[in-house]
Symmetry: C2
Subunit: 200 residues, 2 copies
DNA sequence: TAATGACTACAATCGTATTTTGGTCATATG
DNA sequence: CATATGACCAAAATACGATTGTAGTCATTA
């Protein structure tokens, strides 16, 4: 019922449409009929790709995090110093999320309220996977003698915890503040955290 | 309509009762009649101390933060190293809040939902005041040559941001996890932040 | 002068009729 | 034969009028 047979592009088209509908109407007022119409397929076809409306919304969020993970992964493997990697990764994890939801600020709270229990589960996974990526860079930096730390995974989790307050979750984007302000705050936190890691 | 003439103790008694009622019934089901009865005064007398039901709930939260601020202030003036002060203050700002709401975990979300807009305003103030206290310790540590940082106030704000994700706000306590887990996480974050500050 | 509780306006709740919509599946289509 | 579809249905959401409950006021009281 998931994909495999079905072309990825349709699934993606549905999620693209979801993003637009969410921005325009919010979660409750977005109907599957309208969504299908927006994509240009029949209602039943939507259910060839997703199990339920909730699953659509959650997959939409999944996709945002998936894209973030791709970016983090690329940064982690790039050819710069571990310090630069870490700084970019910290900022990206905040700003990519911000940019992904900025255009439907108003309806974000409603969406989150509707899927909170399930999302909570997934967030744990998201964070754990992100922590793992951070850990790999920490390990690299430690081996290179530029970072000083004990357990990479535990430190990775701490980096996640220390930047989580800046993510749009229960706090919608407008509650968090202007983009420039968030970026500034993220920079300051990242700076502090990096100083704590660097072997001076 | 606020206090001045009225004895502090009655106001406090109302807030004490509010804490109990909130734990037992939650915000909506807590009626002013019941609250007054719990305190042992007439309903009208409640309005001698507070302007509205919302104001009561907000004052209740204010009091929690007020107590925290008292504690932070005491720590900031105590006779230990700036490093120890800062670590204790970071942990206290998380754990005192956690302990203050732990006993009405279930109804916390509801309470927060009811007063969110007003609380948002106040939170800004809370955080700014806390940042100021942290800044004073940072300044002290800088002068003593144990901390290395640029702007104390800006760094203070970063410390607040970096620990905010661990506070019970939109995330209720049970969403955050067990007390021991939070404490562990807070410790790890505090450790990292302190390393970033210490001149090694 | 400070405290009270009867009082009121309005908000929340309820019961019911009506509409909308998430999800299914027999049928159509390529 | 495999995949897409939209008519269909049960269940949920909404509308609405009647009823109840409660926040906030204020004339009276002690």
């Amino acid at each position: 019922m998931k994909d495999a047979t079905a072309p990825i592009s349709t699934r993606d088209a549905i999620l693209d449409a979801t993003d637009r509908m969410l921005a325009r109407y919010g979660y409750k007022k977005m109907t599957i009929d309208d969504l299908a119409k927006e994509v240009g397929i029949g209602k039943g076809s939507v259910y060839l790709h997703f199990e339920s409306k909730q699953e659509i919304a959650l997959s939409h969020i999944d996709r945002i995090v998936e894209r973030l993970k791709t970016s983090l992964h690329a940064t982690a493997r790039s050819k710069v110093t571990p310090e630069k990697k870490l700084r970019k990764m910290l900022i990206d994890r905040v700003m990519m999320r911000f940019d992904s939801v900025q255009h439907y600020t108003q309806s974000l709270n409603e969406l989150l309220a509707q899927v909170r229990p399930q999302l909570l589960e997934r967030r744990k996974r998201y964070f754990e996977e992100e922590a793992r990526m951070f850990a790999s860079v920490l390990t690299e930096g430690k081996a290179a003698g530029v970072f000083k730390l004990k357990d990479p995974m535990e430190t990775g989790r701490a980096l996640i915890d220390a930047t989580n307050a800046l993510l749009p979750y229960s706090l919608s984007a407008w509650e968090l503040g202007e983009r420039a302000e968030i970026e500034k705050k993220t920079n300051n936190v990242a700076e502090l955290l990096l100083n704590g890691l660097l072997k001076r």
